[in-house]
């Protein structure tokens, strides 16, 4: 497995995050913001409950800005510097490169998420926490991050401008977060059949994350996020194949 093209490329990608200050800046900002949100906006202490609900509750909003920032360069940069031509003429298939790049970025996010462990220690120190529920919430948060990331990567494949990739990803992710809310549903209700509106409402990141963040492991939510990731990655493959020449 060590010599498989996917793991070689994954290693290169993951190292490249840490080759520049980007990775460290990202992790510091992520930790600072989760701290601020949890303790100040989330009233962690005032709630007097030994759980991490205020911590996980803010993840969808944090990811909305931070994950497009990671995803924006994944293909746009390759396209801009021309390394995409180098990469795709190496003996590695397109789907292998897409999987490797996704896994590398996802692993990086997992590292950032793992760095929030003091939160977990704090809550265990202060009270009798349900560690099973916390673990489930972490898994749920990581799955949701994968959804944001796959969408952002796919949009990054559409352009050579990182700024455009960032903004478009942010908007697309926002629509997915808000999909179950009147803000989005009302817009489409007028001209789409009810069945599709309901299906769209069921696509919300937020609704699917809610149960997971409370520690309830519902297979449907897991399947939803995995399917989301697979669909966006598949779309990336199609887009890259189509837009290589540009």
């Amino acid at each position: 497995m060590k010599n498989h093209p996917i793991s070689i490329l994954l290693k290169r990608e993951l190292n490249s995050y840490f080759a520049t200050p980007l990775a460290y800046v990202f992790i510091v900002i992520f930790l600072a913001l989760t701290g601020v949100f949890t303790f100040y906006l989330g009233n962690f202490f005032e709630r007097n409950q030994a759980d991490l609900a205020p911590f996980f509750g803010f993840h969808p909003w944090l990811y909305l800005f931070l994950i497009p920032a990671i995803a924006m360069g994944i293909w746009a940069e390759e396209r801009k510097t021309g390394t995409i031509e180098l990469l795709l003429t190496l003996p590695i298939t397109l789907w292998q490169t897409v999987i490797a790049k996704f896994l590398a970025a996802w692993a990086f996010i997992a590292i950032a998420l793992a760095c929030t462990f003091p939160m977990w220690i704090t809550v265990n120190y202060l009270g009798d926490a349900d560690n099973g529920a916390i673990f489930t919430a972490y898994i749920g948060s990581l799955l949701m991050a994968g959804g944001y990331l796959a969408a952002g990567m796919c949009i990054s494949a559409l352009t050579r401008s990182q700024v455009i990739a960032f903004i478009v990803s942010l908007v697309v992710c926002f629509v997915f977060v808000m999909a179950g809310f009147p803000m989005v549903v009302d817009v489409v209700r007028g001209w789409l059949p009810n069945g599709i509106v309901d299906a769209l409402a069921g696509m919300s990141f937020l609704t699917h994350f809610q149960a997971l963040s409370k520690g309830v492991l519902d297979l449907r939510d897991v399947v939803y996020f995995v399917a989301m990731i697979a669909a966006w990655l598949y779309a990336s493959i199609l887009i890259i194949d189509l837009k290589k020449a540009e």
Partner: protein, 308 residues
Amino acid sequence: MVEVQQLTKRFGSRLAVDQLSFNVGPGEVLGFLGPNGAGKSTTMKMVTGFLQPTSGTARVNGFDILEQPLDAKKAMGYLPEGAPAYGDMTVQQFLNFIADIRGLSGDFKRARMQRVVEDVHLTQVLAQRIDTLSKGFRRRVGLAQAIIHDPKVLILDEPTDGLDPNQKHEVRHLIRNMSKDKIIVISTHILEEVEAVCTRAMIIAHGKLLADGTPDDLAAKSRYHGAVTLKLAARDEAARVLKELPDVLEVKNEDASNELTVFPRPGAAVLQSVSAMVEQKRWTVQALYQQKGRLDDVFRQITGGAAA
């Protein structure tokens, strides 16, 4: 063996490569010549499996680039236009990555890394990030990654672009040295490069093959082929006299210095009669030589003055 069959690429309504077919065998260094936008890079991008042809295909070492792309890619080394590389890696890391993904390992990998780094003169920059390198070094890193697995087929898109004359000389020397048992295809618009390294040249324009032969064959199509150039003080007198010789089509004063060129009629030779006349008239000549033909002349002639 590289076999290109009816290769065609259409971008929207623009036909970039139009039913191009040719074969290249081991030991050949093929130079792709053509004005900018002639379809050289597009052809290379299809042969290396980056772009999907609109129709037609290419076989590399017996592997069809559409049906067995991985095997074909393994047999090839490719330097894309502009020598792209991952700027955040050091030269060592980058070459290591390429070697790994190309499946090199153990002693063979170590030996190839060392050999390539020496051949391309990268020892002093191994620990530097590629971002910080000069254009010349970057080009050499691109060349190093293309040859690291000792490929049978080497495709180089403008390998000497942006190099200084010494570096150009070095890269050409390297290409010549590797050419014995390999198939090398280079694209260029520097004509002296074709004369310096290529055993065969192809001129393409608008995606079509216009000429194919050894550089000498092509040069022989030039009107300068067999022409005699001489340099002497009594130029005007000589021009008048030489024009009257049989077999002379035209005598032309060259812009620079005291040179004039005598063009023969097609199929005729004028060197003997010109030198006989020089002796008879007792002109003092500083130079007298027969031209082989000029590639740039042929290039302009064939591509209709659209030369880059």
